[in-house]
């Protein structure tokens, strides 16, 4: 493998890893804020217990999200210096705004929330968690706007003199539909993930007979969050798919492994075969669904990979403009499949609970405990799809990934950092998962704080 392949692997590893924790953090930040609001309004102790308990889980995740986020910002310069030079005039701005508007807000107000239980009034303390949660939304918006520029560059002009893209309209970059739809697709997914985490934990509490007073409302709200989020994810996913078909038709064609242009194009749920354009061994396909997803019309024509390849060669010059099609095909399905499975489970459970019952079956509860993994996988496959099926471009139609890598960094250096990051991230994942399990096992009980001569701190490291 050369430096380019290794830099791509490194980006994939560090980014997918980072994004395991981000949605949990965004979603559970708001859910914890909601629980604390319930406590503030009703003064019921069960809500305080739940706030503190889920607050702990939230913070264990947040820590990893923060520290792995630093790498995200610096690896553009380290491994992708040519990319950074090419787009810096545009891409740097939302990144800097993210830091200035969002990271400061999140970190400062979260610090106030964690350590401020006995230093702030109840009301101000409640406000701090809401501000931190809003900070995570802002952060998501800016980074998604930056990514949207890579999917669909707008508000720029290419300067042949410098060989760089130059910003012409920051408003266009920050408000283009590609960014807006990505935001409204990503945020409900984050809520879905957090809802699944809450449900899974509540399932465990029921299984072990812990704090059933808190378990029921947590389970129910978790399930409702999953179902509502899934509806939003579906609606905005449909919106994103149409934008994608218009802006990156090759990506949509790759998502279906559709080689020949077709009207009434079907969407296959499952294919046995090579996905190389030859006839598949076995396939379950829904007629006209792909046409509808792409164009909003069952009779719509969807362009195939082969025609698009010819088109792109005419437009951009000789080259292979096909992404990794099996990867695109399967990651697209796994994204939808895992998300849908979580929503289906939630819907069934809500139906079961409608008359005030709680699921008690051991197998059922164990399945519920595993629920958080479904949206986590769906999130990962969603990003793997959207990034890998844009290839060979890093900025669609403008700049190729292969041209973006740092020319001065050797393959050995990238390999060394990649292996080290991977090992460190692996160890951190084990520790994080262990702490999550441990926190869940300890549960919602709050050990009374001993009082000595000096007033003890409610929160200390």
């Amino acid at each position: 493998m050369n430096a380019l392949d290794l830099a791509r692997w490194q980006f994939a590893i560090t980014t997918v890893y980072h994004f395991i924790f981000v949605p949990i953090t965004i979603g559970s930040g708001f859910l914890v804020a909601g629980l604390q609001t319930a406590w503030y309004r009703t003064s019921k102790e069960k809500y305080l217990r739940a706030t503190k308990f889920f607050g702990k889980l939230f913070l264990i995740n947040f820590a990893i999200g923060v520290v792995t986020g630093i790498v995200q910002e610096f690896q553009f310069g380290m491994n992708w210096s040519s990319y950074s030079r090419f787009v810096g005039d545009i891409f740097g701005a939302p990144l800097a705004m993210e830091g200035l508007l969002a990271f400061f807000l999140e970190s400062t107000f979260l610090g106030l929330w964690i350590f401020g239980w006995d230093r702030l009034s109840k009301k101000v303390h409640l406000i701090t968690i809401w501000v931190a949660a809003i900070g995570t939304l802002l952060s998501a918006y800016f980074i998604l706007a930056a990514n949207a520029f890579m999917q669909h560059p707008v508000g720029y002009e290419f300067n042949p003199e410098t060989g760089r893209a130059e910003l012409k309209s920051i408003v266009a970059v920050l408000t283009q539909p590609t960014a807006v739809s990505a935001f409204f697709h990503t945020i409900p997914s984050a809520f879905l993930t957090a809802g699944a985490l809450f449900t899974g934990v509540a399932g465990w509490m029921v299984l072990k007979g812990r704090d059933s007073e808190a378990a029921r409302p947590v389970m129910k709200s978790g399930l409702i969050v999953i179902v509502l989020s899934f509806i939003l994810v579906g609606v905005t996913g449909d919106w994103s798919a149409r934008i994608m078909t218009e802006q990156q038709p090759m990506k949509m064609a790759a998502a279906e492994a559709l080689y020949e242009t077709k009207a009434n194009a079907p969407f296959s749920l499952f294919t046995l075969g090579t996905l190389d354009g030859s006839k598949s061994v076995f396939q379950i396909a829904l007629p006209s669904v792909l046409s509808f997803m792409s164009t909003g019309d069952v009779n719509g024509t969807v362009e195939g990979v082969n025609d698009l390849q010819k088109e792109y060669v005419a437009k951009y010059g000789e080259g292979d403009y096909k992404p990794n099609i099996p990867l695109a095909y399967w990651s697209f399905r796994l994204m939808i499949g895992f998300g849908g499975l979580a929503a289906l489970f939630a819907l069934l459970t809500l139906w079961y609970m409608r008359k005030g019952g709680l699921p008690r079956g051991k197998f059922y509860l164990r399945t519920m405990i595993a629920l958080p993994f479904l949206p986590i996988l769906a999130n990962s496959f969603g990003w793997i799809f959207t990034e890998s099926a844009r290839q060979p471009w890093v900025v669609f139609g403008l700049f190729k990934t292969a041209d973006g890598v740092s020319p001065g960094v050797s393959a050995g250096s990238v390999l060394f950092t990649m292996v080290t990051f991977t090992l460190l991230y692996g160890v951190l994942a084990v520790i994080e998962f262990g702490l999550m399990l441990r926190t869940i096992k300890v549960g919602t009980d709050m050990t009374p704080v001993q009082t000595g001569e000096t007033k003890t701190l409610t929160m200390a490291y």
């Binding site: 200035l100 400062t108 012409k168 200390a460």
Partner: protein, 347 residues
């Protein structure tokens, strides 16, 4: 003033913010095992940083992001050029952040001892390497024009470990340790406070010697010295004031003056650099300056509006956090210092 100069100043401000704030974080981390002898004391020391460290570290992220936005060529050359030192800093910051958040979750002594060691090492490495990196930037590094016209770093890893840069690294290391000691003296009670004060004066003298040597060397290698001389004099004066305040037991003033010193070390280095951002040490070679490294005027304008609106706001709410957590921490306030929140397990 051009937007290019304005952004040079703003980047300086961000690095000042970063080193003044995370500087004492590093110092506290390095001193963890020296000033705190038992669990209650260790936890008291870490609790002084608890609500602050993450917000302090964001200054680095914003400095990095702002450099990307305002001077993309600088960002690209610096980060791909100083590859391994930056990687070591990143690894340290990852380990350190996780260590802060996870260490006191369990009471097991091996668990805590491991995280304590991690905190010490992961604070020491960046405190040293940031000085090495900035000294190299000021000194100049070998740069080459590539076939695409980009100005790329052309030295290896060991090129960065020259005596001047190592002296710079030792200076920031020692400065941050002292800054951290002054912070702890101001924020704790009891033995930690006594020990921190004693370390502060000792390390303060070491820092004075290193800083004079480093700034003297910097001055000796410059052709135009005016503003750098002024900056260096402020550094020396503020440092003497910090040491005098520490000697007289005025902990607030000692910390304030060590913050001023740290700020002026950064300002002096940026003054020595201006208008370059990455000078080329190869004779006759082209380096990066605030003009050939910058974004377009439009981007600089947009970012100026954002920075001018947001920075004061950030300073206000971050300042408020420091006010909320202004009280000293006493190890006696740590309830059940030997146990962690995750120790109480049902059967």
């Amino acid at each position: 003033m051009s937007f290019n100069s304005l952004w040079f100043i703003l980047i300086t401000v961000l690095w000042v913010g970063y080193f003044v704030l995370e500087g004492f974080d590093f110092g506290v981390g390095i001193l963890l095992k020296v000033v705190a002898k038992n669990q209650a004391e260790r936890r008291a020391v870490l609790t002084t940083l608890g609500p602050l460290w993450d917000g302090n570290e964001v200054w680095l992220l914003v400095a990095g992001g702002a450099t990307f936005a305002a001077f993309p060529e600088w960002y690209a050359t610096l980060f791909s050029g100083f590859y391994l030192p930056l990687f070591l800093i990143l690894i340290s910051l990852i380990v350190r952040g996780v260590a802060f958040e996870y260490r006191s979750k369990y009471g097991k002594s091996e668990w805590r001892a491991r995280w304590d060691n991690a905190i010490v090492v992961a604070s020491l490495i960046p405190a040293l390497l940031w000085g090495v990196a900035f000294a190299n930037i000021v000194r100049g590094v070998p740069l080459e024009k590539s076939s695409t016209g980009a100005i790329e770093y052309a030295g290896g890893f060991f090129n960065l470990l020259n005596p001047y840069a190592l002296l710079g690294g030792l200076t920031t290391l020692s400065l941050f340790v002292t800054h951290g000691a002054f912070f702890l003296a101001l924020k704790t009670e009891g033995d930690i406070r006594t020990r921190s004060n004693a370390i502060g004066i000792k390390m303060g003298l070491v820092t004075a010697a290193l800083a004079v040597a480093f700034l003297g060397w910097t001055l000796a290698s410059l052709t135009s010295k005016g503003s750098v001389v002024v900056g260096s004099l402020i550094v020396v004066t503020a440092w003497l004031a910090a040491l005098a305040a520490n000697y007289k037991g005025r902990e607030g003033w000692a910390f304030l003056f060590s913050a001023v010193t740290t700020a002026f070390v950064v300002i002096t280095l940026f003054l020595a650099l201006y208008p370059n951002v990455m000078p080329n040490i190869t004779t006759g070679g082209v380096g990066l300056d605030i003009f050939n490294a910058s974004s377009t005027q439009y981007t600089l304008k947009v970012m100026t509006v954002v920075a001018v609106v947001m920075t004061p706001l950030v300073l206000i709410y971050q300042g408020w956090t420091y006010w909320v957590f202004r009280k000293r921490i006493n190890p006696n306030q740590i309830a059940n210092p030997e146990s962690g929140v995750l120790d109480s397990i049902h059967s």
